[in-house]
């Protein structure tokens, strides 16, 4: 077991190292941040001064070395744009992203699971078609479009909700819905297929033969088992939600890490982009590592196989 965990930790660290290399070099291909901090026509001396100030006049491998050395000390560097420590910026935005992700996940489960069960129980009938249509729309409509439609309806026409910003529960409703909409469709599809699989299993057939009422079969026997893959997916999706809400956070001016990443990319703020990507990567790698370890604890065959 120790060997297995050691190997998984090693793979995780290697993944993070490769991620750091990739993001460090790729973000530098996208352009010169100095070009965005001056107007065309600025003197070469001004541009050189900016390069020097940001350490961009040093060789790339030196810059990478400094970045990695700082990273080991928990320092993600200084933002070019904000001139503040990236870690501080990240931590100040993380609670907002977590809040948005938790509420969006709650909404997506609240919508996705019941509609998935309904579609499975009424398979091939009207509610199944409605569920399929919902899943199709949820997975195909881009979140920025959903966001703008929500703003148009609930802020501009009805005047019920604030269009942007944060600070009150009202501010949270539309971004959470726009973000949760896609995941609700995904959860609906998984719940439906999982329920169909369970409903076709032998023990459910037995329960029906025993004469148990349909509601009891669904609620007590089928639903609990069908829920396992949905909740597993929801756990992973929650981490993904925290890290991929770039579009939704930008449309609603929600001050989360998605918007921080957007700002970092827009201003070629290399330390911010690197920091957000590394932290997001670390989060996902850690969750995967924990899942791997849990699987190994639950099922000894896994640790023996690898």
């Amino acid at each position: 077991m120790k060997q297995y965990i050691g190997r998984r930790v090693g793979y995780s660290l290697l993944s993070l190292f490769l991620l750091s290399l990739t993001i460090f070099f790729f973000v530098r291909v996208t352009g010169d941040p100095a070009a965005l901090l001056v107007e065309p026509g600025a003197s070469p001396a001004d541009i050189a001064a900016i390069h020097h100030q940001f350490g961009l006049d040093r060789p790339l491998w030196v810059q990478y070395g400094i970045f990695m050395a700082s990273l080991f000390h928990g320092d993600l560097g200084q933002s070019f744009y904000y001139r503040m420590p990236v870690m501080g910026l990240y931590l100040s935005r993380l609670p907002n992203s977590l809040l948005l992700a938790v509420v969006a996940m709650g909404l997506s489960l609240l919508i996705g699971i019941p509609s998935g069960i309904l579609a499975a129980v009424r398979v091939g009938r009207f509610w199944d078609s409605v569920g399929k249509l919902f899943a199709l729309l949820g997975l195909s409509l881009p979140s920025f479009w959903v966001g703008l439609v929500l703003i148009l309806v609930f802020s501009v026409y009805l005047g019920w909700l604030p269009s942007s910003g944060a600070g009150t529960p009202l501010h949270l409703i539309m971004p959470a819905f726009a973000l949760g909409w896609y995941f609700a469709a995904a959860h609906m599809r998984l719940t439906r297929s999982s329920m169909l699989e369970v409903l076709g299993s032998e023990y459910v057939k037995l329960a029906r033969i025993k004469g148990l009422p349909q509601s009891l079969v669904i609620a007590k026997h089928a639903f609990k088992n069908a829920l396992i893959p949905v909740l597993t997916l929801a756990g992973i999706n929650l981490v993904i939600m925290v890290n991929v809400a770039v579009v939704v956070e930008t449309v609603f001016a929600w001050p989360g890490i998605g918007r921080l990443l957007y700002e970092g990319i827009a201003f070629r703020d290399f330390p911010v982009v690197q920091g957000v990507v590394i932290m997001g990567g670390a989060m996902i790698v850690t969750v995967n590592l924990l899942i791997d370890i849990l699987y190994a604890v639950i099922d000894p065959r896994i640790r023996l196989e690898r």
């Binding site: 026509g41 600025a42 001004d46 703003i151 148009l152 001016a253």
Partner: protein
């Protein structure tokens, strides 16, 4: 309208913590209270508060004039918190502010400023000559090395007088010190020394019309009126700058009354703003001309080497229609790559749209059937302008392909002289006609792909000329030559379109020539209820 007003009040109440209802408090608690509540700082009532929807993220470096980069955006903040010795104000490009007067020595080697009596920083400290000297010496923003190299010494004979001694006469000293950089904006020496540079950015103190209250990075910035401001007591008690990066969301926020003023609303959204009752379109023209640059004109094998071909391209562009379509007719058709308000500007004859004449010129140049002009490079943010110009060129037979490139990469390629054929250029840099010509036309300029000896020869002459009239004449001659040779095809001086809501009295847009944002803040008003 009734529900609209009720809705406004609702949001004003939500933003003020003490007025949260028990239900809302419970809801916040239920959500774990893990999101920040930036509305805590809002002390003034909504009736005496104006809220802006800002298009860019606000950076703390903008709170410190010493770090002002070469872009106009930080001045949005500087005009609120800080003040300068001399700065552009309504009707005056160089208005005495913290200085009540200033004089230049006849030999052009020194400039003397006399400080206004009784002016105070927000912490009550008086503004004195030492603060001015300190502010200049700690300045490290745009053109820092240029100014440091040219200023020999700063004398402060008494608390009210400052003299800048130059190493050699420099006619552009005031252009750089008072308009193009943050070097002339004054910070309190004692306070900065006490809190340090980082502390100053966290809690800036200035001598401007508004005091800093709070800043939540990426979210909002709050200012409160400074009632001892020397020019006048600001009329609006509190200003809130909210960052709303998405253009459609900004417009929605203006429509539903969450914000009172929005920046940067373009194209169809601007049209929608114009047609919405209660909202007012507020276009301004910052010093940002756009032009088409014929990068290959110095290559004898290129069609662009022939001046008739360049003139044909100029005649082919339907600027008026493009302006109507993309900026609702608000961009200025100046026919120059120099902003119209810049010192030493020469107004060329108006641009002519004559595609028949353009075809005739092309035929005379040996391109009766047109020609393949290769790529048309542009910043992707303005590819809509590029498409329109390219279509016009196509109509006379100049066939080209649009190559929109993301802004940072485009600017790098342009500066590195990596492009050929056609480049759609634009600049909002500060300065005067001399600085613009130096960067874009005269040999050695950052964006100069080639140059003309007669224009180059005039550049050092104007730089050494101390007599204003003679210098103006040289610079006008240079601009005439640029026009006659069709070195570029000017497109327009871009309009920056903004909007104001029904509560706004004086918005501050357009009061200061060339300034893109709302200022002076002390002049902004709210309509009486």
């Amino acid at each position: 309208m009734g529900s609209f007003v009720a809705h406004r009040r609702e949001f004003g109440r939500d933003q003020s913590r003490p007025e949260l209802t028990r239900r809302e408090l419970l809801a916040v608690s239920a959500l774990g209270l893990i999101a920040g509540v930036p509305g805590l700082a809002h002390a003034a009532g909504p009736e005496n508060r104006l809220t802006w929807g800002i298009h860019v993220s606000l950076a703390p470096t903008w709170f410190d004039p010493a770090e002002t980069p070469g872009i106009i955006t930080p001045f949005m903040i500087l005009y609120a918190v800080h003040d300068a010795l001399v700065k552009p104000m309504p009707g005056q490009p160089l208005a005495p502010c913290l200085a009540e007067s200033f004089t230049a020595a006849e030999d052009g080697r020194s400039y003397e400023f006399v400080l206004r009596q009784g002016v105070k920083f927000h912490n009550g400290d008086p503004v004195i000559a030492e603060d001015v000297k300190f502010s200049f010496e700690r300045y490290r923003g745009a053109s820092h090395s240029l100014m440091q190299d040219r200023v020999a010494a700063i004398e402060t004979p008494d608390p009210q007088h400052i003299r800048f001694n130059l190493k050699a006469p420099w006619p552009d000293f005031l252009t750089f010190y008072a308009t193009a950089t943050g070097a002339g904006w004054i910070v309190p020496k004692k306070y900065v020394e006490k809190v340090g540079d980082e502390g100053f950015k966290k809690s800036p103190i200035g001598a401007g019309p508004y005091k800093f209250v709070s800043f939540t990075p990426g979210v909002e910035l709050v200012f409160e009126a400074f009632d001892q401001y020397w020019r006048k007591t600001p009329s609006v008690k509190q200003l809130i700058f909210k960052v709303v990066p998405e253009e459609s969301t900004r417009l929605a926020a203006l429509k539903d009354g969450e914000v009172d003023i929005v920046y940067s609303i373009r194209g169809e959204l601007a049209e929608e703003l114009r047609s919405t009752p209660g909202l007012t379109l507020k276009p301004v023209n910052p010093p940002a001309p756009f032009w088409l640059y014929f990068a290959d004109q110095w290559d004898p094998k290129s069609p662009w080497h022939d001046e008739r071909v360049r003139r044909a391209a100029n005649l082919a562009i339907d600027r008026k229609t493009i302006n109507e379509a993309l900026t609702l007719g608000f961009s200025k058709l100046t026919n120059s790559l120099i902003p119209a308000s810049f010192e030493f500007y020469w107004q060329p004859p108006p641009a002519v749209f004559d595609q028949a004449k353009a075809r005739q010129l092309l035929a005379e140049a040996g391109y009766a059937g047109g020609f393949d002009a290769g790529d048309y490079y542009c910043d992707s943010s303005y590819s809509n302008v590029g498409e329109a110009v390219l279509n016009n060129l196509q109509e006379v037979g100049i066939r080209s392909q649009l190559r929109p490139i993301e802004r940072a990469a485009f600017l790098k390629g342009w500066g590195d002289k990596a492009y050929n054929n056609l480049i759609q250029c634009g600049s909002g840099a500060f300065g005067n006609a001399a600085t613009r010509l130096g960067a874009f036309i005269v040999k050695g300029g950052t964006y100069v792909y080639g140059s003309y000896p007669d224009i180059d020869a005039l550049a050092p002459q104007q730089a050494a000329e101390l007599d204003h009239k003679r210098r103006a004449a040289i610079l006008e001659k240079m601009q005439q030559l640029v026009h006659e040779k069709s070195v570029v095809a000017p497109i327009w001086q871009l309009a920056f379109i903004n909007g104001a809501g029904p509560r706004v009295g004086e918005s501050g847009f357009g009061l200061i020539t060339d300034f893109a944002y709302t200022a002076p803040y002390e002049d902004i008003t709210i309509k009486a209820a």
